[in-house]
Amino acid sequence: MSHLRREFLKILFQKRTYFGWVGLFLVPFIITVAMRLSSEGPPDPAHGGPYFIGLIKTNGLYVSVGSLLALVSFLLPLLASMAGSQTIASEAEKGTLRTILMQPVRRGALLLAKWFIANVYVGIGLLILLAGSLLAGGVVYGLKPMMLLNGETVGLGESLWLIFLAYAFVLAAMAAVVSLGVALSTLTDSGLTAMAAGLVLVIIMLVLGSLSVFDFLRPYLFTSHFDAWVNLFARPIDWDPIYKALLNFLVWTVGMTTIAWLIFRRKDILS
């Protein structure tokens, strides 16, 4: 049994895994019901992000984009931070880390497997969110070709492809959060501490990114790039902010995972 299979099996045996996934499945239904009960009309296209949420009433496909917008700045980072921070710290807290490290395993391979499965967990969560969105939106409003930000309409197939790319982009963004969580997880023997620390850092980055006095920091904070996927829905697609965002996520992901490995490979397991 490979490390990956073993780590995946472990998360399948945890109740919190299903709480996270069920929560993500329910969000699109809540948004759809809220829109159904709302009396507001379609929004002005100039509003960008919120524009998609308002369009839900015209096309169920927008539920998937609206759900992503609603969750990308807090709930998804929370989930990613939780997944990353549970990797080492939670096992250290329970004492099982020493049990598995008393087996002939490479610490680096174990850490990488845990990092990968934490990302798989977030990835499955995003797929569940997408499935729930298509189901809720499709049932209530039907799935139709999408109108993009410039008012151009694209076919249903291309619409679904763009939505899939947007979700893949968010998965890359969340990989940076997972990696931050994994790095913090190697520093403490408390899963809760690691998760809280990860979330606090994400919130600090969000705050820094929202204050104009710290504008010089914005390009370096991964949180500032969370919504760059919206550019996928422009015509022509503005790839520049998307590439910059992906590069930023890559640097954070590689950097944080490397830090985690450097700490973990020589860490004294005292728990």
Binding site: R6, K10, F13, G95, T99, I100, L101, R266
Partner: protein
């Protein structure tokens, strides 16, 4: 004394500091093939620190461990292929059954068959609860499961940290019998314990650790003094003590009620003592063998000596 048997486990100048605290100081242990080796010491002596270093869970400040020719921490993975056991309380995934835990963790060390899992669970008396979640297990049951995991791959060396802790008397007896049986089958067992009689019952060799330092190591029967203790009854205990202290050593003579107890009294020493006492015109009323000094006595004597020496060097 050099033994002919193969060395299974050895530590070489093993030292571990935690910030300013020296938890283990220049530990040099040798465990031979087939030994049931007792690792004794009071709480905080550094036993668990040493075991963590043996498993490569922590990194030494200096020195190293050698497990069947593999240096730890450098060759930790190769060493762990020959090693089974647990440190502190054995820990498992509480939301999984014992069987699944053994499969999940055991497969990190190579293939595990269901038949072997059943065998080890039967051996430790957990076969009937094999499919129950470990979260519902008592402390004693987790201890047994820890032993089952240690045995799963039939390692050449088993390191157990206080394996009878938390067990009921019957459980303790079963585990000790299991350890003895492993020893009879040729498996080398390294047993950490604070229960001195357990080490006397189960082990053939032992080491005593105090304040991170090794104070004694060797066959259990040789850890006791070579000669037995004798009790001497005289008409003048004070003068007799002076004579005997001059003859033996000041530390070897102590008063116990109306008797003087002379430790490590060899066969040559006893007639010489009587001759000297008679020469000094001290009437000798009786010379009788004292109860044999137990490992417990040795343990307290050695650990207290280290404590006194530590205090003196601190002044």
């Amino acid at each position: 004394m050099q033994e002919d048997r193969r060395i299974v486990l050895s530590t070489h100048g093993l030292t571990k500091d935690f910030k300013k605290l020296r938890a283990l100081d220049n530990l040099n242990l040798t465990v031979y093939e087939g030994d049931v080796f007792g690792f004794l010491g009071p709480n905080g002596a550094g036993k668990t620190t040493a075991i963590r270093l043996i498993f490569g869970l922590t990194y030494p400040t200096s020195g190293y461990v050698n497990v069947l020719g593999h240096k730890v921490p450098e060759q930790r993975q190769q060493a762990l292929r020959h090693l089974g056991g647990f440190v502190d309380d054995p820990t498992f995934y509480g939301n999984m059954s014992a069987r699944r835990n053994l499969r999940l963790i055991g497969e990190m060390n190579g293939e595990v068959t269901e038949k072997r899992i059943t065998e080890v669970l039967e051996l430790v008396g957990l076969a009937e609860r094999a499919n129950s979640k470990v979260g519902g297990y008592s402390h004693g049951m987790r201890q047994r499961l820890g032993i089952a995991l240690a045995l799963l791959h039939r390692p050449e060396l088993i390191v157990l940290d206080e394996p009878t802790s938390g067990l009921d008397p019957q459980g303790m007896r079963d585990v000790r019998e299991l350890i003895r049986e492993l020893g009879r089958q040729g498996t080398t067992v390294f047993l950490s314990s604070h229960l001195l009689h357990e080490v006397e019952l189960v082990c053939n060799r032992a080491a005593i650790l105090s304040k991170g330092r090794l104070v004694a190591q060797g066959p259990v029967d040789q850890l006791r003094p070579a000669g037995g203790a004798v009790k001497v009854l005289t008409r003048n205990q004070r003068r007799a003590a002076e004579v005997l202290r001059a003859l033996a050593s000041p530390r070897a003579v102590r008063a116990e009620e109306e008797y003087l107890v002379i430790e490590s009294a060899s066969e040559d020493l006893v007639p010489e003592m009587v001759r000297r006492l008679v020469a000094e015109e001290i009437d000798v009323l009786a010379v009788i063998p004292a109860t044999e000094q137990s490992l417990e006595d040795i343990f307290f004597e050695l650990t207290e000596r280290v404590a006194v020496e530590g205090e003196e060097s601190g002044r």
